[in-house]
Every structure is written in structure tokens, then in C-alpha cells.
């Protein structure tokens, strides 16, 4: 099995390693989180990640141009502070999310797997609301203040999301 194929399988949520004859070459889904981090880092550090990042940064530029009532429901335009915060977060995130504006002065980052697992960061100027849903649809919602280490905190969640075993 080539490394490239192995990488694809690793990130297929439905992949289960049943190959008991070649365990030396296959890192199973029970691999440690540090190994998952290595995989995530490798998987998302190539052209795919850069292309998605470029696309996401372009979206932020588009959001920056939106005028008041852009959604026909009296949404405000987005502040430079929020756009810059999102720009910095996108630049530091280990994996690129899907990015969407909301009509309540926030910008939403989403990660989703085919098995229903979901991770959402709703970025406001002064805090970030987190929503995590596992494949059994258990939900967790909590809030982070914007602190100096917020990028590390979000990256921990992203790593955990892509390495989660449940």
C-alpha cells in the first residue's frame, strides 16, 4: 500500500484496518493523537490546504465588502476587527474549514465528516462559540474568549476532531 493511498484511507472516517498481516506498515485508527497530528499536518499542509486557504481568504475579502442589510434582514457590515481576526485564524489553522457569514456579526467556520461528525467555530469579535457533534449526535456547546492562545486552542480542537476515535 502506498503512502498516498494510506493517507487517503486514514482520513476516510469509514476506514477500519482489518489487515492483521501487515500491521507494521499500517497505523490503525487507534493510533495516538500525536500520530494523528502528524497525519493531519502532512495531509493538510500540501497544495489542497493552500488552495482552500486562498479560497477562504478571498471569501473574507468578499465579506468585508458587504454593506448593511446585505442579507435583506438588517445584518450589519462586518468590522475590520472581525475580518482580521478570522484572517489570522485561517492562516494558523491546521486544517481549512468551510467559511460562511452569519447575519449576527459573526463568521462561521465548519468542519464536517461524512459520518455526521461536526465541528463549528462561530467567530465573534470578542469570543468564539464552539459546537461539536459526534457521530452519535451528542452535542457540546461552549465558548472561548479571545485570548493570546486562541489559535492553539482551536488547533487542538481540529486535531482532536480529525483524530477522534468515537
Amino acid at each position: 500500500m502506498t503512502a498516498a493511498v494510506l493517507m487517503e484511507l486514514k482520513f476516510n472516517p469509514d476506514y477500519v484496518n482489518n489487515d492483521s498481516t501487515n500491521n507494521d506498515n499500517i497505523i490503525s485508527r487507534n493510533a495516538s493523537s500525536s500520530t494523528d497530528d502528524q497525519f493531519i499536518s502532512r495531509y493538510f499542509s500540501g497544495k489542497a490546504k493552500e488552495g482552500k486557504k486562498t479560497e477562504n481568504l478571498a471569501k473574507l475579502e468578499e465579506f468585508e465588502l458587504l454593506q448593511k442589510n446585505w442579507n435583506f434582514h438588517e445584518a450589519n457590515s462586518f468590522s475590520k476587527r472581525l475580518i482580521n481576526l478570522c484572517r489570522n485564524l485561517l492562516s494558523s489553522l491546521r486544517a481549512q474549514p468551510d467559511v460562511f457569514p452569519t447575519g449576527r456579526d459573526s463568521i462561521q467556520f465548519e468542519y464536517e465528516k461524512e459520518n455526521g461528525e461536526y465541528l463549528e467555530f462561530e467567530i465573534f469579535e470578542d469570543h468564539i462559540d464552539i459546537l461539536r457533534i459526534d457521530k452519535l449526535e451528542h452535542e457540546e456547546e461552549y465558548r472561548y474568549a479571545i485570548t493570546d492562545d486562541i489559535q492553539d486552542k482551536l488547533n487542538e480542537l481540529v486535531s482532536d476532531f480529525y483524530g477522534r476515535q468515537n
Binding site: 465579506f63 438588517e74 468551510d98 460562511f100 457569514p101 462561521q108 464536517e112 463549528e120 456547546e141
Partner: protein
């Protein structure tokens, strides 16, 4: 014609437009992101008012312009109630069918978990 003072019945359908720009569409599942249900004053929708779906679609196109619309989605009021949101009829001079989905009777903005459920439960009735 329905009375706009009426409580929204579980049997009613609620319609929400999805803008083309910015892009709210999730190609993987052919539905909008939950962000489309997140407004500062709850989530504006139109009640069906016993109108056929095509009439409602025409009304949205007429009001906002078809070039602005990516899609129109619909969700049953009963589903909104099951999710735990609070439905409020609030007709305006321009739109007697206008209503809002709130998080609860004391909080307008819909929390993320409920917005996510709305997005997963809605049906796409029109794609442009």
C-alpha cells in the same frame, strides 16, 4: 387568508430564502449551512398561509429578485417546535406572512445546535 394574529400551527410550513452571494450552499449535502438561520433578530421566514409552494416561490423571486436567490428552503413548524425553537407570527405592512424563528421565548438569536438542526431538517423547494 389566514389571520396574522394567529398562533403558528404545527401543521404550517415556514419558508426561508438562501442568498446566492455570499455563498451559503454546502455542495456535499445539497443544503444550506446552518449560518443561513443565524440572524441578529431571530430568523425571518414566511408562513405558507395555505398558499401553494409555487406561489410562495414566485413571491420570493418578486420581492428579492431571482438573481439574488440561490434557493428557498422550507421547514415544518412542527419540526421547529420539536427542535425547541419558538415561533412568532410578526406580519409587516409589506408581508403579511412574515414570521420569525427564535431560540426561545426569551432569546431571539438561535443557538448553534438548534440552527444546525434546522439546516439538517429543512427541505429545498427551489434551487436557482
Amino acid at each position: 387568508m389566514i389571520s396574522m394574529d394567529d398562533k403558528i400551527e404545527p401543521s404550517e410550513k415556514l419558508y426561508r430564502m438562501v442568498l446566492r452571494k455570499p455563498d451559503y450552499w454546502k455542495k456535499e449535502n445539497g443544503k444550506p449551512t446552518s449560518a443561513v438561520f443565524k440572524d441578529s433578530s431571530g430568523c425571518s421566514v414566511d408562513r405558507d398561509g395555505q398558499r401553494p409552494a409555487q406561489l410562495i416561490i414566485d413571491a420570493f423571486n418578486s420581492r428579492f429578485g431571482s438573481e439574488k436567490l440561490k434557493a428557498i428552503v422550507c421547514i415544518e413548524a412542527a419540526k421547529c417546535i420539536e427542535i425547541g425553537t419558538y415561533l412568532l407570527s410578526c406580519p409587516t405592512p409589506d408581508n403579511e406572512y412574515h414570521a420569525e424563528i427564535h431560540d426561545s421565548n426569551s432569546q431571539k438569536q438561535i443557538r448553534s445546535s438548534k440552527a444546525r438542526k434546522l439546516a439538517k431538517s429543512c427541505n429545498v423547494v427551489y434551487v436557482n
